[in-house]
Symmetry: C2
Subunit: 184 residues, 2 copies
DNA sequence: TTATGGGTAGACAGGTCGGTCTACTTGGTC
DNA sequence: GACCAAGTAGACCGACCTGTCTACCCATAA
């Protein structure tokens, strides 16, 4: 992948995540990245293609980060602890690779593109199942049969804590989720 | 309130909720409502003022609907049951007053307006505490001291089930939330 | 040297955006 | 009838949007 292509994606991802895909036009991406318009259209057929590339980059980055965060977990209790404490670190801007917390890029982007059959919405949906798979795979490192019920609950609470942190500016979700899952 | 003002809010709310605030320009609101532009600016100083009016209308509508749905609850277990089954009905388009399900208008709008200090974001935040109060008040009808921990958990799971229903198109959240809260 | 690929600045096009304004109509009240 | 409030159609404005295109440059490989 070329330097310019990467530079465009990085710049666009940062701007889109902070401000919103529809709030940032391609001229702003070009101005901030210092790349020429023709170069942008050399690498991407449209703004949508650029948006999808930012989603893919974010997906890989988030998946990798989470994979590392939960890797030490040797049982379900540790998994829950690692996962939600990691999310808390994200909300509190302690994860540089994920940028200043502005909620979940995928939730936000799905909100901006309401047509659930659009490629962008479908990609956001895919991200959610990708993350579920990341968690399931970690469960599989210490259990023959991952606890599917627990997995469902973790994913449900994950959406809850993220949304609450962003919309309500309430960062207490992770501790609550940990306590709640201890009850089972 | 005048007929035209009400007509503008209703039309804008429907369009904004289905498509997104930034995806619908005022010219589209005018075309669909059949109201003249000068009339719109007679009633609202700006598009933002119209957006805030739609948020208020939605807030009242959702609060009222939820109040009615959970009114029969005589204990925490019933409250949880009524609340989450009501949400499920919403997701499955069984609540006409809330329109075709497109997630939470407040979550979506907060995603479209990323500046958390904007009036719009602050209103979305306010909505979340208003709904929390609706639930707390219902708890107070059958308990001297509402269970604040349960209330927190309900709100957390409420965000989770809504987000998951919208982004992941997974409507199984409410049953999971009910089971999870039974464990406490 | 030539060809190719990647890149530059930025003008241009057609369209939409939010908001302002002209000129006029209608209905109700005094 | 005069006045006021609410309303109409829609032109206009400046700004911004996405995408196309001209004319040109630079580096590398053959």
């Amino acid at each position: 992948m070329s330097d310019k292509r990467q530079q465009l994606i990085e710049t666009a991802l940062e701007l889109f995540y902070q401000e919103g895909v529809q709030s940032i036009g391609i001229n702003e991406v070009l101005k901030v990245s210092g790349v020429a318009k023709k170069t942008l259209y050399h690498h991407f057929t449209s703004k949508e293609a650029l948006v999808l590339a930012t989603l893919e980059t974010r997906n890989q980055r988030f998946s990798q980060w989470l994979t590392v965060q939960i890797a030490p977990a040797k049982n379900n209790q540790e998994l829950v602890e690692h996962l939600f404490q990691s999310l808390k670190g994200w909300f509190e801007d302690r994860v540089e690779v994920l940028g200043e917390f502005r909620g979940c890029f995928f939730i936000n982007t799905a909100a901006e593109f309401r047509d659930s059959e659009s490629e962008i919405s479908r990609y956001c949906r895919q991200h959610k199942s990708d993350i579920k798979q990341v968690i399931r795979q970690q469960m599989a490192t210490y259990a023959d049969q991952p606890d599917e019920t627990l997995l469902e609950r973790i994913c449900l609470l994950k959406e809850g804590v993220i949304t609450q942190a962003y919309v309500a500016q309430d960062m207490s979700g992770p501790e609550q989720a940990i306590e709640l899952l201890k009850g089972r």
